[in-house]
């Protein structure tokens, strides 16, 4: 469970990236954050695993106050939080298997990770994660030889291998083609339902967010302007977030007609 209480983030030059965030995310939610570029979506997401620091307020993740955690404690918290990036962030010259196994580094000491001393169970777990996403046959291929959708699945497998309680996704489908977008989003939905993992995702496309999420959060200029279920998102809400209602041509179209 994630609990924001009066969280602010102010940069040294006075710019306020986050203002008065009060938010509670429960276990098992599929939360999508929508808003203009630069409104603070990425910043909000990255404060959850302390990739960015908060300047005031309290942020409790899975029962721990993450803003005060450092060093080994921080690594222990982070190993329970998986993160997916827009540009996949895989180690290009390593094999897919090594990339996925890198998810387990939080569970070992530095010495063990340098010499690659993972247990056999963890290696099997990594391969099983690949299998669940359907790319087991590419397990020992170099990571940059896969297509974009497959690389994002490898990133998802890496997050799954961490056996996390929470997965953060920073615009996970922004660089994928329309068909792959839908299958990756389906994978997210399946993970959320089958393993009961909370998912918090930044999305560009509002109708993808509306279709898959159980809860929508709208951010404008660092403040939360909407917090509710997808059914409550009306044109008036999108005007509040984006400044105007979305035109029909800006929506993705018939999302229900796909296999």
């Amino acid at each position: 469970m994630i609990q924001f209480t009066d969280v602010d983030k102010v940069y040294p030059n006075g710019y306020k990236a986050l203002k008065d965030i009060n938010l509670t995310i429960n276990d098992g939610d599929f939360v999508c954050i929508i808003g203009l570029s630069g409104a603070g979506k990425s910043t909000l997401l990255r404060t959850i695993n302390k990739m960015h620091n908060i300047t005031s307020g309290s942020l409790v993740v899975n029962g721990e106050d993450i803003s005060k955690a450092k060093g080994k404690k921080l690594r222990e918290i982070r190993r329970n939080i998986g993160m997916i990036f827009q540009s996949f962030n895989l180690v290009n010259r390593s094999s897919v298997f090594k990339n996925v196994l890198a998810g387990r580094v939080g569970y070992h000491s530095t010495f063990e990770t340098i010499f690659g001393l993972y247990t056999k169970k963890e290696k099997m777990l990594a391969l099983q994660s690949l299998d669940k996403l359907g790319i087991l046959d590419k397990a020992f291929v170099r990571a940059d030889q896969l297509s974009g959708g497959q690389q994002q699945r490898v990133a998802l497998a890496r997050a799954l291998t961490q056996e996390p309680k929470l997965i953060l996704a920073d615009e996970p489908v922004a660089s994928l083609d329309p068909v792959t977008t839908l299958s990756v989003m389906d994978d997210f939905k399946r993970i959320n339902k089958d393993f009961n993992i909370t998912i918090v995702a930044n999305m560009h496309h509002v109708d993808l967010a509306l279709k898959y999420a159980t809860r929508i959060i709208g951010i404008k200029a660092g403040e939360i302007v909407f917090d509710g279920t997808p059914d409550e998102v009306t044109d008036e809400v999108t005007t509040r977030i984006y400044g105007r209602a979305l035109k029909h041509s800006e929506k993705l179209g018939d999302l229900d007609k796909h296999d």
Partner: protein, 308 residues
């Protein structure tokens, strides 16, 4: 009140700037260069007012030629030349009739003294020296890269520059005094001198790595060393190997050079034979050196192509 002062200061600054713009020097420059930025009313106008940038080139070339001629006369370039045609003839004879027993090591010469042995010895010096130095320059290279260490990289960079610019022949002479004649001195010199070169190339490769996988590893909960091992090293490993192979190529030449001062390898014999004018012994040595370098060039080129 403030606004009024600001206006006055601005007008003062403007006139100073205007004065600078209109000085004689700038006027001349404008004649040559800035004419091209005026608007042209007709083609004749455009032709007459075109920028004459070639004047810059001509001036620089004239200055350069003047300096060269001055230097050439100053060091008496040609007057210390004593052309010696007969020596050239002897040299040519030596090249046509190399001493094959010296080359292969039969007859009057032991295998230990033959050219082939010396070539292998030179190769061995270069191989050991490059291998040792590629391992020892890893810490130097990592510490000299701004991305890994931040501001403190400048210490290691400075150290590497000092090691690099120390002339290797001088270092060879010193090592000969420390460890005696022979190839061991050559290995010491080559290892330490190469640390400077290879360390610098390592740090250059490390400065251009992709940050993104490191960010992802950070989010998984990896410590700094783990990030380096899992994120940095897979990216730069092929580049490092390519650097080492390139350096090996150059080190073979340096290894033969160190022989001049007695640090082992083929250089010593070349020096001795050229002093005593024994051309038929010199030519097998030269053939040997050329064959060795061509061989190492080809192999290193092939392996480097495979790495990319």
């Amino acid at each position: 009140m403030d606004n009024k002062n600001k206006n006055v200061n601005q007008t003062k600054a403007l006139t100073k700037e205007e004065k600078r713009q209109n000085s004689t020097f700038n006027n001349i420059l404008r004649q040559l260069h800035l004419r091209g930025y005026e608007t042209y009313l007709n083609p004749d106008d455009a032709y007459n007012k075109r920028p004459m940038l070639w004047i810059y080139d001509v001036v620089i070339a004239l200055v350069f030629i003047g300096v060269i001629l001055y230097f050439a006369i100053d060091i008496k370039f040609m007057s210390t030349a004593t052309y010696n045609g007969t020596r050239l003839g002897e040299l040519w004879n030596g090249f046509i009739n190399p001493n094959w027993s010296y080359f292969f090591g039969y007859g009057n010469f032991n295998f230990n003294e033959s050219v082939i042995y010396k070539i292998i010895e030179t190769f061995a010096i270069a191989f050991i020296g490059t291998t040792l130095s590629s391992i020892f320059s890893l810490p130097f290279g990592f510490l000299a890269s701004r991305k890994i260490v931040g501001k403190y990289s400048i210490i290691s960079e400075f150290l590497l520059i000092v090691i690099r610019t120390f002339p290797e022949i001088l270092f060879g002479l010193i090592m000969v005094k420390v460890v005696g004649f022979g190839s061991f001195a050559g290995i010491c010199v080559l290892s330490i001198h190469s640390i400077g070169m290879i360390g610098k190339m390592y740090s250059e490769q490390l400065d251009v790595i992709n940050d993104q996988p490191l960010e992802a590893l950070d989010a998984c909960g990896a410590s700094k060393l783990t990030r380096i091992k899992l994120g940095v090293i897979p990216q730069v490993a092929p580049n490092f190997l390519s650097v080492i192979l390139y350096r090996f190529d150059l080190n073979v030449r340096t290894a033969s050079l160190l022989g001049l001062v007695g640090a082992g390898g083929i250089g010593y014999d070349i020096w001795v034979n050229s002093q005593f004018n024994t051309w038929s012994m010199l030519s097998p040595l030269l053939y040997g050196v050329v064959i060795l370098i061509i061989f190492v060039d080809i192999i290193s080129g092939l392996l480097r192509k495979k790495l990319i």
